[in-house]
């Protein structure tokens, strides 16, 4: 709780982000450089899948970030709802669009991976369906920010994010149950536990790099929102003008 109340002050947050934002950005660039080299050139081919297995290194971290971003939104929403910290609203809002983009990226890369492996762009598989629903939840969350002025919209968005957060596991398990009911022949998935260190290392580096990228985007988003709020506060009201027209 200590760090949250410390950062809740915008001035202190800006001092923190002045160091943290570039750090996250550079770590993301370096991590992506190393990770892409390791995953695209350094890692071995998979026996059955060949080169298409390399899609995993951009797909799995995207899925991880998509879920992490929503968790962040839900946490920030809880903080904003209970303690009414305005900065928590900015954090939740800043995470929404990157999170939605990572979710879309998960679906797109998954689809590109599925085409050569499963022979189809789309399967109503439990995981794919729940990621699609997550994207729907993100779209609703982003949309609700525009329905009212910031203060009310922030509160409504926080309520929606928390309701969505509680429902995500319910939706996930329903979809998995539904999927096993309707499709006994489930598509085979990459057996993750048996993955070797040669595959695991690039994946972890890419995961870290993606996480820093998400953190950098969120921090930049919060900074932008703080600047916009400050500008809105400091805009002097233009003097009233009256035009008198001759009758």
């Amino acid at each position: 709780m200590g760090i949250i109340s410390y950062l809740a002050n915008p001035a202190r947050f800006l001092r923190f982000s002045k160091i943290a934002t570039p750090l996250f950005g550079w770590l993301a660039i370096i991590g992506l450089g190393i990770g892409l080299y390791l995953s695209l050139i350094g890692s071995p081919l998979e026996e059955e899948q060949g080169h298409t297995v390399r899609i995993m290194y951009v797909h799995v971290p995207a899925a991880w970030c998509a879920m992490a971003a929503y968790t962040g939104i839900a946490l920030a929403s809880l903080i904003s709802f209970v303690w009414r910290h305005s900065l928590a609203d900015s954090a939740a809002r800043a995470l929404a669009i990157p999170g939605a983009v990572f979710t879309a990226l998960t679906l797109i890369t998954g689809s590109l991976w599925g085409r050569p492996d499963w022979g189809t762009w789309w399967q109503w598989d439990g995981r794919m369906t729940s990621v699609l629903v997550l994207l729907f939840i993100y779209i609703g969350y982003i949309a609700i920010w525009n329905i009212a002025e910031r203060k009310i919209a922030a509160r409504l968005a926080a309520i929606l994010a928390m309701v969505g957060w509680i429902n995500i596991p319910i939706i996930k398990y329903s979809v998995e149950w539904w999927n096993t009911l309707h499709q006994p022949a489930t598509v085979s998935k990459l057996s993750a536990p048996s993955a070797t260190a040669e595959i695991l290392w690039p994946l972890m580096v890419m995961g870290l790099a993606y996480t820093f990228l998400l953190g950098w985007m969120a921090l930049r988003g919060i900074e932008a929102e703080l600047v916009a709020l400050k500008a809105a506060r400091n805009t002097p009201h233009s003097p009233a003008t009256v035009t008198i027209e001759p009758a």
Binding site: V133, I137, I144, A148, I152, R155, L156, V163, N167, S174
Partner: protein, 222 residues
């Protein structure tokens, strides 16, 4: 008389005087199902398999299309502000309005399902299962639509947004509701799906009513 009963009585009276506005959902449902049957070729044999999912969808869409009756109309004409002045809690208002929405706009849809189901030649066992599943899911449908209604009650037009916000929350209800209706002829009311459906309705009460109340408060404060 408790405020909840008072509000429900008032809503029923208003609906009765509205010149039939409460029945638009029914008309929509009949149109939607007829259009589906025509679009799908009109052969009863093919339609029969699709009837339960289509009836479920028609009820979900009909309830989403009557979303403005839950909170927005009272918000616009100032009734909501009067409720607040009368020191009713948001929870009381949200519960009462959700209940009256379920009674006036959702219950007629479910009660007339036997009529529309004949568009599809649905057998009697399936029909009983479908109606039971719908009745058990009624709280979940009403409450999640009400959550969107409370979130959007200050906005003039929010039809599409209401669908976007509500649809993800209703996916489990839709999945288990359809499965329960389809499994009724095998396992009866004791089917696992019915119990899960009842659980989903209870969860919706626990999550959805406080969420509607909080959203209502946020919109009334602003």
């Amino acid at each position: 008389m408790s405020p909840v009963a008072e509000i429900i009585k008032r809503d029923i009276k208003l609906a009765a005087r509205s010149g039939g506005a409460w029945s638009y959902g029914l008309v929509f449902m009949a149109f939607f199902l007829a259009l589906c049957a025509i679009a799908l070729g009109g052969k009863l044999q093919t339609l029969k398999d699709l009837s339960i999912p289509l009836i479920w969808l028609s009820i979900l869409f009909a309830s989403l299309l009557s979303i403005s009756h839950i909170f927005r109309q009272d918000m616009e004409d100032g009734t909501m502000a009067q409720f607040k002045l009368a020191r009713l809690s948001s929870m009381t208002i949200a519960s009462a309005k959700t209940l009256s929405f379920a009674l006036i706009y959702l219950l007629p849809l479910i009660l007339t399902t036997p009529i529309w189901s004949q568009f599809f030649g649905l057998g009697s066992a399936e029909l009983v299962g479908l109606c039971l599943a719908l009745l058990i899911a009624l709280p979940a449908i009403a409450i999640y639509v009400a959550v969107s209604g409370a979130l959007l009650c200050a906005k003039q037009s929010g039809g599409f947004l209401a669908i976007i916000l509500t649809a993800p929350l209703l996916i489990p209800t839709l999945i288990f509701g359809i499965a329960a209706a389809q499994n009724f002829s095998d396992a009866g009311i004791a089917a696992m799906e019915f119990r899960i459906l009842a659980g989903l309705s209870f969860i919706s009460i626990a999550i959805g009513l406080p969420a509607s109340a909080a959203a209502l408060s946020a919109n009334l404060e602003g």
